[in-house]
């Protein structure tokens, strides 16, 4: 049998040493009607060669983003990942280790998490970061749960410009605690500050503001913060794209209490949307309320520096039903990919990625909006992604452009943005690709 070392002879010997004659004897206390007499209805075992061919064949039935020119975004972006990232995360020392419960033989994992936490704090301008969450959506949900626990208030304000899937995840997560959720509507691609002001009250537990938001727009976090913190107990939660923080003021500068987001853009492939990882950072006063694992530096018995999992009294394996979250396994290896990516790129490389993505997005935006029938969906400042009003239904554009070798964007009509196409641009897109795309769009509209 594959991956099993013991031979049949050894098994027999071991059974004999145990004091039984067959494996079935070891199941003897189990009610007979629970033990299957027939094998499961699964396929015949495949050899390594057969499964390799099969997976390659099945995968070839997908069209991947390397075969086309992709403008898909909405939380998951096609940024370039240097080869060295894959090399490091492919080391079995990292990928086949478990959660670092025995610190003395897990210093590799613990040290990179410590470095990761530092990098996230540098980007977000926050005081403390955990070791990672499942994804951007659950990080948002856990941030709100933190707020509900922290101030025991019941009203939650959420920007309507949050990714619609994130809203769904948040609702699944927090509904059992029966909060009142109010979605703040948009005005020209940003949240409506007047409505936000009106909804602010003493019973607000938290306000969750994405920036860049679902439409790629950078919010006026300064004004938003002023409104939210009129209520001193309310938590100001910002969800963000970490690459955007190389260009724009970090939420920490605007006194955010919690900063979360999707980390995939940092050195992780798209992988059909999983694995991803969420990052989670807080200000000093909330460190002990954070969900998830945290690594801290300490010393060993010889006074040598080392790292351990710390503040574990917050966690489920110690605190059980009083824990700050139920999270156990997180997305450690994805956080490692992010760490290696950030380190390789350095401050200038990361900034260059953010700049190029932004400039190329703005170039494409301007060119598309010059085409007949295409209009900007809003006039607010955007990062690397934008929405346009299209002259024909976005789904038609997507399917026509697919035949020409483009993933043209995401049809966000179904999320309530009528006739809007959401287009994301990363540093991977060349000027020539952008020009050719605009050209094809122009032809397509003419044909209709």
């Amino acid at each position: 049998m594959p991956f099993i070392s013991n031979t049949d002879e050894q098994r027999l010997q071991m059974l004999k040493d145990i004091g039984v004659t067959s494996f079935k004897d070891l199941l003897s206390g189990i009610p007979e009607d629970l033990v299957l007499t027939e094998p499961l209805h699964l396929n015949e075992p495949l050899s390594e060669l057969e499964i390799t061919r099969r997976v390659k064949e099945i995968s070839s039935r997908n069209i991947n983003t390397s075969e086309v020119v992709s403008f898909l975004g909405a939380g998951i972006y096609d940024h370039f990942v240097p080869a060295a990232v894959g090399y490091v995360i492919g080391r079995p020392e990292f990928y086949s280790a478990y959660t670092p419960y025995q610190a003395e033989v897990s210093q590799g994992t613990l040290q990179f998490i410590y470095e990761y936490q530092t990098l996230i704090c540098e980007l977000t301008g926050m005081d403390a970061s955990n070791a990672s969450m499942y994804d951007g959506a659950t990080a948002c949900a856990e941030a709100i749960l933190l707020a509900l626990r922290h101030n025991k208030k019941k009203k939650v304000l959420i920007s309507s410009l949050l990714h619609p899937h994130y809203k769904e995840v948040i609702e699944t997560y927090i509904t059992p605690l029966e909060p009142e959720i109010v979605y703040i509507p948009q005005k020209n691609g940003r949240i409506d500050l007047e409505v936000l002001q009106k909804e602010m009250s003493d019973d607000v537990s938290a306000a969750l503001i994405p920036s860049p938001n679902f439409l790629g727009v950078i919010e006026d976090l300064e004004s938003i913060e002023t409104i939210i913190h009129e209520n001193k107990r309310a938590l100001f939660i910002v969800s963000t794209d970490p690459l955007s923080l190389m260009l724009f003021n970090p939420p920490g500068k605007y006194n955010a209490d919690v900063v979360v987001g999707e980390g995939q853009v940092l050195g992780n492939k798209q992988n059909l949307g999983g694995p991803l990882f969420g990052f989670f950072a807080v200000n000093q006063k909330l460190v002990r309320k954070m969900p998830g694992r945290i690594v801290g530096a300490t010393v060993d018995t010889n006074g040598q520096k080392g790292y351990v999992l710390t503040l574990q009294a917050r966690e489920q394996h110690i605190r059980r039903d009083k824990a700050t979250s139920n999270i156990c396994t997180n997305q450690s290896l994805c956080a490692l990919a992010a760490t290696v990516y950030m380190v390789l790129m350095g401050k200038r490389g990361l900034r260059a990625v953010a700049e190029q993505s932004t400039i190329k997005a703005h170039y494409l935006h301007d060119r598309i909006c010059q085409l007949d029938g295409f209009e900007p969906a809003n006039t607010s400042p955007f990062f690397k992604e934008f929405a346009v009003q299209t002259p024909i239904p976005p789904d038609k554009i997507i399917s026509k452009m697919k035949k020409k070798g483009y993933f043209a964007g995401i049809d966000i009509s179904k999320y309530g943005y009528d006739n809007q196409l959401l287009i994301a641009v990363t540093e991977k897109r060349s000027k020539a690709e952008l020009d050719a795309f605009v050209h094809e769009l122009e032809n397509m509209v003419k044909e209709v």
């Binding site: 990292f94 699944t172 992988n271």
Partner: protein
Amino acid sequence: MATKTIFEKSVPNRKGYTLPKCKIEMKINSLFPEKLLRKDIPRIPEVSELDTLRHYIEISDKNHFIEKGFYPLGSCTMKYNPKINDIVNIIEGCTDLHPMQPEDTIQGALEIMYDLQNDLKEISGMSAVSLQPVAGAHGEFTGVNIIYNYHKNKGQYRSKIIMPDSSHGTNPATSALHGMEVVEIKSNAQGKVDIDTLKEVLDDDVAGFMLTNPNTLGVFETEVKEIADLIHSVDALMYMDGANLNAMLGYIRPGDMGFDIVHFNLHKTFSTPHGGGGPGAGGIGVSDKVKDYLPVPIVKHSEDGFYLEYNLKHTIGRVHSFFGNFAVMVRAYIYIKMLGSIGLRRVAENAVINANYLMKKLLPEYPVPYQNNIMHEFVACGEKFKEYDVKTLDIAKRLLDYGYHAPTIYFPLIVHEALMIEPTETESKETLDSFAEVMHKIADEAKRNPELLKNAPQKTPVTRLDETNAIKNLNIKYPFNE
């Protein structure tokens, strides 16, 4: 030797990346109002590619990992991760897929998910499967959320969840996230659910029962069907924590035992690597009664091909941004396809034989309070070493000196000074024999030279670390020159 942090290795203007030229003349400053733009530069290190590699390889060397040595971490099923699984990393048809691509461009991916859903249904005996949760505790969250919504739909708010005192910490934590009160019941003398106690706490306010089977003592809950009947008699739901599914593959199925919901730990049972703490995958299987409550989308098949189904009558909604950890699913898919039903049975057989064999080898030096119906793991009690002023922690740390990872310690809570040992099926008799030999040597050392244990480990990259100091002088990010 301590390794400097990467921040201390930074050299101004050193570079580890290349990028194509932008070729568009545009200045960031001209695109945004000045007040939005960041002035301070985040202190991301500047190092070369070689610096980066040297640094991370140097620290990786300080890790214990499966390919290096035995990893008998109870409840974690640290089996060997076949290298073929990682083919997924190099196939662009897996890595370079965007989750919002048109459905007709991801037919291959959907087929793998569909097939995996079906295989997991067959393996678990459940009616339907969702692959969306990305970790065991996330599967638990999804499951308890279904329990919550099942009652809510009937216009009931049930406030209690019952579980044995041997349960994983994630079980009560997940219940608390749903505002439910946890009712912990004491295990009986065999380490199993005490049916009489269960009857005493059972009433119409009970939403569900969470059970790990085999339980965290490695003991099979032989009265599971009776338990299920009792729980169902008050219209509560049976939840199975699937952490220990490995013990039963191909022989015993959660669906046949009367469970309504079970989570799978694809990263344990189906051999996908744990990544130093994730990503895992924690899909769930459900019975007919609650199949309309699964998170959406789930993958279905029609004449026109595979598609994503969003219309489930009572769906709890989403628990993840997209479909779950696809890359982990592909690995589990490969594993199941390579093993087939015969191979999966062999997994369970060898996991159970290895655990029983190792337990026998460690007895009586390491007493195991609950020995009946031991399946894939067992929990030894280290209390007797207290006589020599030696704790289980010391035994664990001494094991590190001998090149082994320690077992899970101090869990489950109902065994004092617990050592929870799960060898898994992939380990050979020789490995188990050597490990047992070392365990006996350590027992001997405990009696003759306890200092050896109390000062352990000495041969690891660092010696015993001061956890109290870590909390007292909290240092969770590099201080730069502050």
